[in-house]
């Protein structure tokens, strides 16, 4: 049985607990054991905290990585931001021994050490690469017939030079996972356009962020999609939160929630009442 340290992050547990719950249920159904990464903090967020103070970002990320290293487990995240931060931090610390030494000087103050061995994975990519579409198909008890828009976000795929998850300009793995549930992933224009929320844009220039989101929503609507399927609670928050104001009403589900539904999870356990854009199943 594959075993991972489950890194919660901030937005899923504290804004969309249905994403956390459905991840736990889906992993159980797929024989993936999740061990809570206890005492972890924010990843910390790559576009804001890293932009304010890179040392803080790296040292706090190293603390999270060290917790998993101590548990002897690879990390799995359900968020592109967490994936971006933890993957990038692990990569930098592995490539740069001087930096690792410096960070360990800071971790020593709290009695910790990071050796540089933690592997960081994303839930969607684990489903695709470790479980596989065929095994997922075999677990679907409630095949779905929705037409959906697959939304990859940015930090799941990029920078592709170090992540190597999928083709950053023309990805397919999320579409394949979605179609394993019976749903149809609708082709659309500019599929890899950013949601707009990252890099501190949502907080500082909300109207600019919304323009990114609106372009996406327009393309999704034109494609005939009835749902938006994301792999990141922060993209999720952006799509879910701004639609009403922009005059759209396409329900938003995280991949874990879509998978949960298709595997017969109780709708109550998706915490759909936390969603701003109403979700009717």
């Amino acid at each position: 049985m594959a075993k991972y340290a489950f890194f919660l992050g901030c937005i899923a547990p504290l804004r969309y607990p249905g994403i956390e719950k459905s991840t736990r249920e889906v992993c159980k159904a797929l024989d993936i054991e999740l061990v809570d990464l206890k005492d972890a903090s924010c990843c910390p967020a790559p576009g804001v905290i890293r932009a304010f103070n890179k040392k803080t970002w790296l040292a706090a990320a190293a603390r999270n990585l060290a917790l998993a290293e101590k548990a002897g487990l690879p990390i799995v995240t359900i968020c592109n931001g967490c994936y971006g931060s933890l993957f990038d931090a692990a990569h930098e610390l592995k490539e740069n021994p001087a930096l690792l030494k410096e960070v360990n000087g800071i971790l020593a103050q709290v009695g910790m050490e990071y050796k540089g061995t933690t592997v960081v994975r994303h839930f969607a990519e684990v489903l695709y690469n470790e479980v596989g579409v065929d095994k997922i198909k075999a677990k679907i008890t409630n095949p779905l017939s929705y037409k959906v828009a697959a939304f990859y976000g940015c930090h799941f795929l990029k920078p592709s030079g170090i992540k190597n998850v999928d083709d950053p300009e023309n990805p397919h793995i999320l579409d394949d996972l979605i179609e394993a549930t019976g749903a149809k992933s609708m082709p659309r224009q500019n599929k890899t356009l950013c949601c707009g929320a990252g890099g501190g844009l949502k907080a500082a220039f909300g109207d600019v962020a919304k323009k990114f989101t609106q372009t996406n929503l327009e393309n999704m609507k034109a494609s005939g999609a009835q749902y938006i399927i994301d792999v990141c609670p922060f993209c999720h928050l952006q799509f879910d939160g701004v639609q009403k104001e922009l005059g759209y009403s396409i329900p938003v589900l995280h991949l874990s929630q879509l998978m949960g539904l298709a595997m017969g999870m109780n709708a109550k356990d998706l915490a759909l009442s936390a969603h701003v854009t109403p979700v009717t199943l």
């Binding site: 249905g18 967020a45 103070n53 040392k55 990114f212």
Partner: protein
């Protein structure tokens, strides 16, 4: 009047943006930049300004904060300039000199206070309980000693200065 600052190149390099010198100003980055489509931000121009050492113009500009860190430019740059790393380096310099949006300060304060970028809400706690999840997630939120460790790290790296 522009005021080139030769020390700035060293400062950028120290902050992790040394490879800005690789940029040969082709403009591929700006052509695909989703932010540039909506705003006056021009990433090619920012790279040039960094090369020239136009520090005041950069640290005082709103455009520096209009990048969503989507990495589209990084994927397409023919010189493999790590553009996002450079934007991050420039932002670090701006923040260290006191240039920060209130909304960003709030996010930073949340990290210092909760160890997370958002706070716990009663509505979500109730939902968590209903679904059989621990009301408080098993993170630093649930362990004061772990939070104290994080606080020490924030302090040791100078983060506390920016949340004041």
């Amino acid at each position: 009047m522009v005021t080139p600052n030769p020390d700035f190149a060293r400062q950028i390099a120290e902050a992790g943006g040394e490879e800005v010198k690789m940029c040969f100003q082709c403009g591929t980055c700006t052509a695909g930049c989703p932010s540039g489509r909506q705003t006056s931000y021009r990433v090619r121009k920012l790279m040039r300004m960094a090369q020239l050492g136009l520090k005041d113009e950069i640290v005082n500009s709103e455009e520096l904060w209009e990048c969503s860190t989507c990495y589209t430019c990084v994927e397409r740059c023919p010189r493999q300039v790590p553009i996002v790393d450079i934007v991050i380096a420039l932002r670090n310099i701006a923040v260290s000199e006191g240039h920060m949006f209130d909304a960003h300060k709030k996010t930073a304060q949340n990290l210092a206070k909760f160890g997370h970028t958002v706070s716990v809400s009663d509505k979500v706690s109730a939902l968590r309980k209903e679904m059989g999840l621990p009301e408080v997630p098993p993170t630093v939120l649930a362990n004061a000693a772990a939070k104290a460790d994080l606080d020490k790290i924030l302090k040791a790296t100078g983060f506390c200065k920016i949340v004041e």
